[in-house]
């Protein structure tokens, strides 16, 4: 029996800055993720949102489900637009306002990586969050650089599954030696809120990578979306850890060993995955996990 998670009461205090009325699908991870993120950040927050599901989820203009200011920016510019907002706020003396770029995986792994890299190189004082649902879901499930090997999308050639590996975005960001890189998941809300609270206090570029389930894109029952997302961490394909000034810390240790195959079985998008690909994915996940444990041990 899976243990249910209690969110410590002290983390959930204060007004909900993400209000009802979100135009998301049932079981959407991205809308829950925003609620939890704002619990950690508070109302002195400005958000830059590029083209992604959240341009829709927020509601139809002039209404917004969020009680903090939001700027819609170009698909490829979440990070640099946030830098511009930061510069403007600093000039006005509003240094306590945290600027968060909130982008999907397409806007981060693919079209937005140039501006993200530029911001990280300059160590601009922003929080960059990628809510990763592992494909271009808003436009109808097209493959992205974040789509895992073995997943079906509407643009994987011949209707087959993706053959290429998912980019290791944490490694890319860590190579920039920014002060804070973390992964988090809506299936571990307590850990997630704490990370946003921490990110708020750190100066420089912060990068948080969220695994965010998408029932229509993953081909899962919306009621199962949190359970399946938790499995990703239990099966070690999405480990939850943070790297603060180069120091690794694994935040969630899987309680029991779940083979990746079990995780794949829960989702329609992996239905066509061959045994060979499953094996290759398992080997890759094992390798990453072992290296993560080594890095954690060194800390």
């Amino acid at each position: 029996m899976q243990k249910t998670f209690d969110i410590p009461r002290e983390l959930m205090t204060g007004e909900d800055l993400a209000q009802p009325g979100m135009l998301s699908c049932q079981g959407c991870g991205a809308s829950l993720a925003m609620k939890l993120a704002l619990k950690g950040l508070g109302e002195r927050t400005v958000i830059a949102v590029p083209a992604c599901c959240w341009t829709i989820i927020i509601g139809v203009y002039p209404y917004s489900t969020l009680k903090v200011p939001v700027v819609h920016v170009l698909f490829e510019t979440a990070a640099v637009s946030a830098s511009g907002i930061r510069a403007g706020l600093d000039m006005r003396g509003e240094e306590d306002v945290v600027v968060m770029a909130w982008a999907g995986d397409g806007g981060t792994f693919d079209i937005g990586i140039q501006s993200l890299s530029g911001v990280a190189e300059r160590n601009d004082d922003i929080l960059y969050v990628c809510y990763d649902n592992e494909a271009y879901m808003n436009t109808g499930i097209q493959r992205s650089g974040a789509t895992p090997m073995g997943a079906w999308t509407t643009t994987t050639p011949s209707g087959a599954v993706k053959q290429e590996k998912k980019k290791d975005i944490e490694k890319i960001m860590l190579a920039h030696e920014i002060p804070y890189v973390a992964t988090a998941s809506v299936a571990y809300p307590d850990d997630m809120i704490k990370k946003f609270k921490k990110a708020r206090t750190i100066k420089g570029t912060k990068f948080i990578h969220l695994l965010s389930p998408c029932p229509p894109g993953w081909r899962i029952d919306p009621a199962m979306s949190i359970k399946i997302t938790r499995m990703a961490t239990q099966a070690k394909v999405f480990p939850i850890y943070e790297v603060e000034n180069g120091k690794y810390k694994i935040n969630v240790y899987p309680e029991k060993k779940i083979p990746l195959k079990e995780y794949f079985k829960t989702q329609g998008r992996f239905r066509q995955m061959s045994e060979d690909l499953v094996k290759a994915a398992q080997e890759r996940a094992d390798r990453s996990w072992e290296s993560l444990i080594r890095m954690d041990g060194e800390a």
Binding site: H72, I111, T139, G140, T154, P157, S158, G159
Partner: protein, 353 residues
């Protein structure tokens, strides 16, 4: 004749492209054209073609530049904001005389705008769009059948003129389903003595748009201009109810097809209204409109924007004592034939009585 098939507008474009020998497609997700990359990803591999979903719009237009520079038939597609991102690539292709087909199933703007039909990209498509003094041929279909036919034609025109060709549709033309008939593409030969194929056994070739010596770029630009002028022989347009017309409504693309019903309504009520539909937006059918303006004095542009093609219409017939009126509908809603009839009636009453 082939059996009629019930096909979505975007898919008809993809089908036309494959039939015309397009074997390389590069795209990026954006609504409302996703059916094109999706169709290509499913079917290009059947004909040993290559489908790549690039990491950005800039990547996909420059993959097109690369593939076309080898002499292959290649295509990219996107929608308004994505087409804006591609402009630098299109400018390079024009400057280096590299063919290629670019589909813009346009959505509404400015900015992120919306995903509904719009004709707000007329200026961008017909005036070059990117930097420098250049033009692309612009084809404007108004039905799913035309999506199919004009896409095939686009590849011939691109190769013939060594120039990018833009197909300008919109959300309506991309998303609706209509019966179409496929036809066999008649292969035309265009010698590609400029293609990058490896220089073994022949002189090396160079494709470039950079010209630095004194006067070199002047000559290059005049040469390109001459080429753009010569495209006039490709002008296409359609007319309806022109006999005895007193008012000519000029419109292209999706709004023109709505107007076909409107003009019929006007004729049923005894109003002498005709319809002129440019199919090539660049080159614009100025000479044909000018000729018409010798016998008909009243024109009215109808567009899904605040007045863009209107300028070309005025440049064509705005001289002498002609009247050019306008009705525009910016994006956000599509006018019904009745609404358009109401607008045309107002102008008809004012000008003709």
């Amino acid at each position: 004749m082939a059996e009629a098939e019930f096909i979505k507008g975007n898919e008809a474009i993809a089908m036309g492209a494959i039939e015309a020998g397009c074997r390389f497609y590069f795209g990026y997700p954006i609504t409302p054209q996703n059916d094109i990359p999706e169709y290509m990803s499913r079917h290009l591999t059947d004909v040993d073609g290559t489908f790549i979903q690039a990491e950005s719009e800039i990547a996909s237009i420059n993959m097109l530049l690369g593939a076309s520079s080898t002499g292959a038939r290649a295509m990219t597609s996107s929608s308004s904001p994505g087409i804006s991102l591609k402009q630098e690539g299109i400018s390079y292709m024009c400057g280096s005389q590299i063919p290629g087909v670019i589909v813009n199933m346009s959505r509404s703007g400015p900015g992120l705008g919306g995903i509904d039909p719009s004709q707000g990209d007329y200026f961008q498509a017909t005036r070059g769009g990117g930097h420098g003094d250049y033009r692309t041929i612009v084809l404007a279909p108004h039905s799913v059948q035309e999506n199919y036919d004009l896409t095939m034609k686009a590849f011939d025109l691109a190769d013939k003129y060594r120039n990018p060709v833009v197909i300008l549709g919109d959300a309506l033309l991309g998303q609706m389903k209509e019966p179409i008939r496929r036809r066999k593409y008649r292969k035309k030969e265009f010698p590609k003595d400029w293609a990058m194929t490896g220089a073994k056994g022949r002189k090396k070739r160079l494709l470039k748009s950079l010209y630095l010596s004194e006067g070199e770029l002047t000559d290059h630009n005049w040469m390109l201009n001459k080429k753009y002028q010569s495209m006039k022989r490709e002008i296409m347009f359609e007319t309806q109810f022109m006999e005895g017309a007193k008012l000519v409504v000029v419109a292209f693309g999706s709004v023109a097809r709505i107007l076909k019903s409107t003009v019929q309504m006007a004729r049923d009520r005894g109003m002498k209204v005709g319809l002129f539909r440019p199919i090539t937006l660049f080159p614009f059918p100025s000479a044909a409109l000018d000729k018409i303006s010798h016998s008909i004095k009243n024109f009215m542009a109808v567009e899904l924007n605040t007045g863009q093609m209107l300028e070309d219409l005025k440049l064509s017939v705005g001289h002498k004592k002609n009247q050019v009126d306008f009705y525009g509908r910016p994006p956000g809603s599509i006018p019904s034939p009745d609404e358009l009839f109401h607008e045309i009636k107002k102008i008809y009453k004012k000008r003709i009585g």
